[in-house]
Amino acid sequence: MSDAAAAPAPHDLCGDHAAAGLADAQVLAALRGMIQARAVDDRLWLLSRQGKAHFVITSAGHEATQFGCALAVHAGRDYVVPYYRDMALAMALGQTPLEIFLHALGRAADPSSGGRQMFGHFNSRALRIVSGSSSVGSHPLHAVGLAWAFRITKERGLAAMTLFGEGATAEGAWHEAISFAGIHQLPVVFVCENNQYAISVPQAREVPVPDVAAKAAGYGMPGVIVDGNDLFAVYAAARQAMERARAGGGPTLLECKTYRLRPHSNADDDRKYRGEDEVSAWRARDPITRLERYALAAELIDQTGVAELRQAVAAEVEQAIDQAERAPAPAVETLFDHLYGAGEPSSDQ
């Protein structure tokens, strides 16, 4: 990866967007979406400090990885099985700032869980974003099971994408998932958002090799490494992997090297385990800044346009918060809803 701070070049993304297969409008939409996701993230931390959001978990720094992957998904057709870091991904797939805030504030209209799950458990059956637990590494198996279902129903041209941090690749269930997918060459793309820390534990203490992608070799699939802060690099690799999967070519392990720019959650103090120098160096490689610099250099937008865009996003986000704060909490009677399907006996009848 080139060092953005030292680079005199107008931008440091891999190639140009046309070569990556993106139209001008897609780049601008991604830039807008990433700025919006960061703005939502910023405001969530404020809501946490105000005591309005009890739990916040960040996607800041992961936006290029998540938007690059989302662009490779046929939203609403391919399944996406995400983890708690994937707010920007959920937004890239179609969740709105209002929906994100309804989830964060535990409101009745929270589309992810109706106020049941703490923030970070993004879900939408309509978008085929699959609900997850908080257990790390338990969910890739569900992507594998979905892919097995396509085999039985004989549906072609479909794939499942599952995302996780490098910490999850230590879990047994992760290995069981990737092993099953490799044995049967199922249409699953395993995306590792490697931000180098499992909360406080550095990669060297959680992964025995420098690259998570190296693990793919033991499971009969290619392992691909990309700069996770480069939208074009992520998109090109994710698209290739998804197209291969849809065409029956089997699974891929895609490792996106990135960095979390905030603490793990509002309950975490990252100064205990990483230095300010390290965080600053990664701030200089902020994926949004890098994409913005590219868009300016490629004359897809000018400085005025960027300023207007940021202003418009800020206004949208404030409006969404306002609306979410006024939205009603779930009715207490709903505590008992959805334990079982309709008409099924409950244990306390």
């Binding site: 338990s138 969910h139 569900h142 594998v144 099971g145 979905l146 069981e176 092993s179 334990l339 399907g341």
Partner: protein, 327 residues
């Protein structure tokens, strides 16, 4: 009508449901070519092909997790855990994932899977082929936990479980697999989930049980009948959610309750049944609620002598009934 033992009844249920519904498939260790270590899936591979009869790696979390994923796309997976003793690696998938999918997504998804697991001792299985693990699952809303005691119920409950919109853990007692045959119809029928079965009406003592112990309890009840004690035997069949009405109705009639299970005493289902009776039928009781269960040691030592000492049997149950009757 054909006579079937329990393993034949289970095989018949799987074959009938797979023939009737293309969404149904089975997966597990050795379920394909070998037909399962107990032959529950024997013949299914030849009939339905390897996409629907899936030999998996030795990875229990994987078996259940893959089943969950497939169910999200509308399929009806039946996962086999080779022995209930090996269900522990899959507990995260069963309790944290399958049981909570509907609730945590506010009804957006549901997870219609069945997890079959042979359980129970008395077959020289030692510590890791003998366990009763049902109590690990009988306190999690969203799950249903079944344990049939007869071939007829095994087929009817398994079909009900496969058609159920929620996850079901289905325990099959190994000693019953090749036990007595009874009439089990060809073709599909269901036995309702959530309903206990009255196996023997009686007026003096209510005995609540399930699995292999239903048979031992009936034998003990016949012995006590000759001594003038009239025992009502209720086979719970569904361990969660419990059939509260059937339990309370019986104990309100007899005034005495004995719960018999092969699982350990502490933390076993008997505690829950006893608490239910204490809370809702206390004023009907003529004696303390009694539990007869396996001792609080691990099921079960390999030695014939130790195994026999561990196991409940009709004589031990008869002694417990006699004791309660005399109270």
């Amino acid at each position: 009508m054909p006579q079937r033992n329990m393993i034949e009844a289970i095989r018949s249920a799987l074959a009938d449901e797979m023939a009737a519904d293309e969404r149904v498939f089975v997966l597990g260790e050795d379920v394909g070519v070998k037909g399962g270590v107990f032959l529950a899936t024997d013949g299914l591979l030849a009939r339905f092909g390897e996409d629907r009869v899936v030999d998996t790696p030795i990875a229990e979390a994987g078996i259940v997790g893959v089943a969950i994923g497939a169910s999200l796309h509308g399929l009806r997976p039946v996962a086999e855990i080779q022995f209930a003793d090996y269900i522990h690696p899959a507990i995260d998938q069963i309790l944290n994932e399958a049981a909570r999918f509907r609730y945590r997504s506010n009804g957006d998804w549901h997870c219609p899977i069945v997890v079959r697991a042979p359980f129970g001792a008395g077959v020289h299985g030692a510590l890791y082929h003998s366990q009763s693990t049902e109590a690990l699952f009988t306190s999690t809303p969203g799950l249903k936990v079944l344990a049939p005691s007869t071939p007829y119920d095994a087929k009817g409950l398994l079909i009900a479980a496969i058609r159920d919109p929620d996850p079901v853990v289905f325990f099959e007692h190994k000693q019953l697999y090749r036990g007595a045959r009874e009439e089990v119809p060809d073709g599909s029928y269901t036995v309702p989930i959530g309903r206990a079965a009255l196996r023997r009406p009686g007026n003096d003592i209510s005995l609540f049980t399930y699995g292999l112990m239903a048979h031992h309890s009936l034998a003990a009840a016949e012995e006590l009948a000759r001594e003038g004690v009239d025992v009502e035997v209720i086979d719970l069949r569904t361990l969660y959610p419990l059939d509260h009405a059937a339990i309370l109705e019986s104990v309100r009639k007899t005034g005495k309750a004995l719960i018999v299970h092969e699982d350990k005493l502490t933390g076993g289902l008997g505690g829950e049944v006893g608490a239910l009776i204490a809370e809702h039928a206390f004023e009907y009781l003529d004696a303390p609620v009694r539990r007869l269960a396996s001792p609080d040691v691990h099921a079960v030592a390999f030695s014939d002598v130790l195994e026999a000492h561990f196991m409940l049997n009709p004589a031990k149950i008869a002694a417990a009934i006699r004791d309660l009757a005399a109270y």
